[in-house]
């Protein structure tokens, strides 16, 4: 059966048979860096293409259809254009922070790729506090956005950055609470353990209604955290022209743009891991035969399928809903989502203690 895990293991053995342990590690680290950057680029291209096609489908248009079959090379061409574009800098900006900001946002997004289990046994870094790591590192990206807004010396950028700061800080709480409610069920912060605990069914089915509530809150919160419509107040092109990246152009802008899409991928991957079992195939309790059939589908397909399902969900939101106002956004978080998720966490804890879940 096709399995990335086996390929990787035999590759590791083959390297080990030729070189000593240190060299193997160095080569593998270089390969992983290469892999991460490649994945970053490919995901960016695929997600942008997907977004354009999805929006076109929703908006009764055709979307990109000229470059390559079905326009699949459109985003490649766009990226090329962005790379060769002059990366000019406005005169009055704070030069150091202005140049640093896109890299902070991008590096944060790349760091988040580390603990994600892409398939059975395929993970860059199996860290025992994986979920904690993701929530901690993902909050760093707001620093990059604030930096960009401040350094641009533009009133619109500043407003956008401030909105973004308030928004991400608030919505992280709900996202954290929603994640916590799965953690209390599994009792582990390790993503592999969390997946292993869904051997006999995904948490969204096993955790009764509280898991469903946690999932809904998680999706809302991460949509806000990644600055996507209907919570795209930081960019809000009809109010703040471009928000925090108004003054950015060329590749610097592209880095913000790519980081946004990578962030979507990551939050959806985490969501899929926590609620839909990550790479774990669809298993029902002890229906051995059914579970075996499901196992024939490679785990990587399960993982990417679930992740892209969630990504499509978030894209669907974006092209349907109007944007909230800034005070309504904070009201929603502090008056509704946070109390609900706290209560939900309590109920979930009760379920975990009593063992009422399946």
């Amino acid at each position: 059966m096709f399995s990335i895990e086996n390929i990787l293991n035999s590759f590791h053995k083959w390297l080990g048979s030729m070189l000593n342990q240190t060299n193997v590690m160095l080569i593998e680290m270089a390969l992983i860096a290469f892999f991460a950057i490649t994945l970053f680029a490919i995901l960016g291209l695929v997600l942008v293409y997907l977004e354009r096609k999805v929006s076109a489908f929703i908006q009764i248009r055709k979307g990109p259809n000229r470059v390559g079959p079905f326009g699949i090379f459109q985003t490649t061409a766009d990226t090329l254009k962005l790379i060769v574009k002059e990366s000019f800098m406005p005169d009055k900006v704070d030069k150091f922070l202005y140049q640093l900001a896109p890299f902070i946002v991008m590096i944060t997004a790349m760091l988040l790729l580390a603990p994600i289990p892409f398939a059975r046994g395929v993970q860059i870094w199996n860290i025992n506090i994986g979920v904690f790591y993701v929530t901690a590192v993902s909050s760093l990206s707001v620093i990059g956005i604030l930096m960009a807004g401040w350094a641009s010396s533009n009133k619109y950028s500043l407003l956008g950055a401030m909105r973004s700061g308030a928004q991400i800080v608030s919505y992280e709480l709900s996202a954290g609470m929603a994640i916590l409610s799965i953690i209390v069920l599994t009792g582990s912060l390790n993503l592999q353990d969390i997946i292993a605990s869904q051997e006999n069914g995904w948490w969204i089915f096993k955790g009764h209604i509280p898991a469903l509530v946690a999932f809904v809150i998680y999706i809302i919160a991460v949509t806000a955290e990644t600055n996507r419509a209907p919570f795209d107040l930081a960019e809000a092109e009809s109010e703040l022209t471009g928000g925090f990246h108004t003054e950015y152009a060329g590749m610097r802008f592209a880095l913000f743009f790519l980081a946004e899409y990578i962030n979507i991928f990551i939050v959806c991957a985490i969501g899929a891991t926590l609620f839909f079992g990550g790479w774990m195939p669809f298993h029902i309790g002890n229906w051995q035969a059914f579970n075996h059939v499901m196992d024939f589908i490679p785990s990587s397909i399960w993982f990417f399928g679930k992740t892209f399902f969630l990504i499509l969900l978030i894209m669907w939101f974006r092209w349907t809903f109007p944007r909230l106002r800034v005070d309504q956004l904070l009201n929603l978080e502090w008056k509704y989502l946070l109390p609900i998720s706290m209560l939900n966490l309590l109920v979930m804890t009760l379920i975990a203690i009593k063992g009422w879940h399946f």
């Binding site: 929006s55 929703i58 908006q59 009764i60 248009r61 009055k92 704070d94 401040w150 350094a151 641009s152 010396s153 533009n154 009133k155 619109y156 500043l158 407003l159 909105r163 419509a229 209907p230 795209d232 107040l233 809000a236 092109e237 009809s238 109010e239 703040l240 022209t241 092209w319 349907t320 809903f321 109007p322 944007r323 909230l324 106002r325 800034v326 005070d327 309504q328």
Partner: protein, 371 residues
């Protein structure tokens, strides 16, 4: 740390919205004084697209000047032409053929529909929902096709001339208008499902930008903006002109005066326009479409004023004639100009995000304001 953003002595920030800004839909420039996100004061700076149409018209003949009025409120070009034609006809005392009157009204109502659809799409876009724009344009496209066949243009249309209309309607006109009505009626529910009933949309518009009836009168607001505040000001109903005398339709009034009321007025007005077209489309009388007039028009000495309803409100055409072949003085009282003057009053104390929704529901067309 360097002070990146200048502030006023009170510590507020002056933000330039426009002249290039995605939600001003043109070259409107607003100075807004903000404290954080809250707008304290708004000062419109207009004139970026001022072409002095009034001065130009003073050297154009009565046949020529009508064409420059399509460039004022380009979304209700036919109504602008209609207003000028009515004023000139009033001066000349020309009897317009009934067929021309009916065609004028149908064309005007189609223009109103097209204008409101564009407004609906762009309002949703201002509020962050990008898809409704395409749904609106799907139906608007049918109207522009009809216009293209009959009037020969899709945007700056000139069709209504003193004495009637420039040419007879296209043979497909009636069939295509009926097709449009069927299509529109099947889709209006979709509009409401997608935008009107959306919770976020309602929260963004209800209770925002309230304009009381007294203020609407004092600021000289007209059209759907004033009708959202409960001020009955539909010129088609109050001073019926052309074929509006003979048809049954309702004046749409809402009383709340907020953005949502203005929104609902326009939405319901679209259905009313369809109702008007339905009454007329099968009853276009046979006959002349253009009255016989002299080659060179000369208005008698005097002053002529016409009030009529465009998609945005009341258009006033004021012609002062000295008896020559060109107007001595001409003044267009444009609806957007007065509606814009109420914006500062409506927006004070609201957030920057609300500026967009209030401006959207005022339905400002900048060339109409600047002229």
């Amino acid at each position: 740390m360097r002070n990146v953003v200048e502030t006023t002595p009170e510590g507020n920030m002056v933000l330039n919205v426009g002249p290039q800004h995605p939600s001003t839909h043109g070259v409107l420039h607003l100075f807004i004084t903000v404290n954080g996100e809250t707008i304290l004061n708004l000062d419109p700076n207009i004139g970026y697209i001022h072409r002095s149409i009034e001065k130009m018209c003073e050297s154009l003949s009565y046949r020529q000047f009508i064409y420059s009025t399509s460039r004022m409120d380009y979304l209700s070009a036919h109504m602008n032409n209609h207003g000028c034609a009515l004023t000139v006809e009033k001066g000349l005392q020309v009897e317009v053929p009934v067929r021309a009157e009916v065609i004028r009204v149908i064309i005007s109502e189609l223009t109103r529909l097209a204008s409101h659809q564009l407004w609906w799409g762009s309002l949703a876009m201002d509020l962050g929902a990008l898809s409704p724009f395409f749904y609106a344009f799907r139906e608007r496209e049918m109207i522009t096709d009809i216009m293209e066949e009959t009037c020969g243009a899709r945007l700056t249309m000139n069709y209504i001339v003193p004495g009637g209309v420039m040419a007879d309607i296209h043979p497909d006109f009636q069939r295509k208008v009926k097709e449009f009505i069927v299509q529109f009626k099947s889709k209006i529910g979709e509009y409401h499902e997608l935008v009107t009933n959306n919770v976020i949309f309602q929260n963004r518009t209800k209770g925002i930008g309230i304009l009381s009836k007294e203020d609407a009168i004092s600021y000289g607001c007209t059209g759907p903006t004033a009708r959202g505040s409960g001020l009955s000001c539909d010129m088609r109903k109050i001073y019926p002109y052309s074929a509006y005398k003979n048809i049954q339709f309702n004046e749409i009034l809402e009383t709340e005066g907020d953005s949502f009321a203005r929104y609902m007025v326009r939405m319901r007005e679209m259905e009313e326009s369809v109702n008007i077209i339905e009454q007329l489309i099968d009853n276009i009388p046979e006959g002349e479409f253009l009255a016989k007039t002299k080659a060179v028009l000369k208005l008698p000495k005097g002053e002529f004023y016409t009030r009529l309803e465009t998609a945005r409100g009341e258009l006033g055409v004021y012609i002062v004639s000295e008896g020559g072949t060109t107007p001595y003085r001409i003044k267009f009282r444009s609806p957007g100009f007065s509606n814009l003057s109420a914006l500062n009053h409506m927006i004070k104390g609201h957030k920057i995000g609300d500026l967009v929704s209030v401006m959207g529901t005022l339905d400002l067309v900048i060339p109409d304001i600047d002229r």
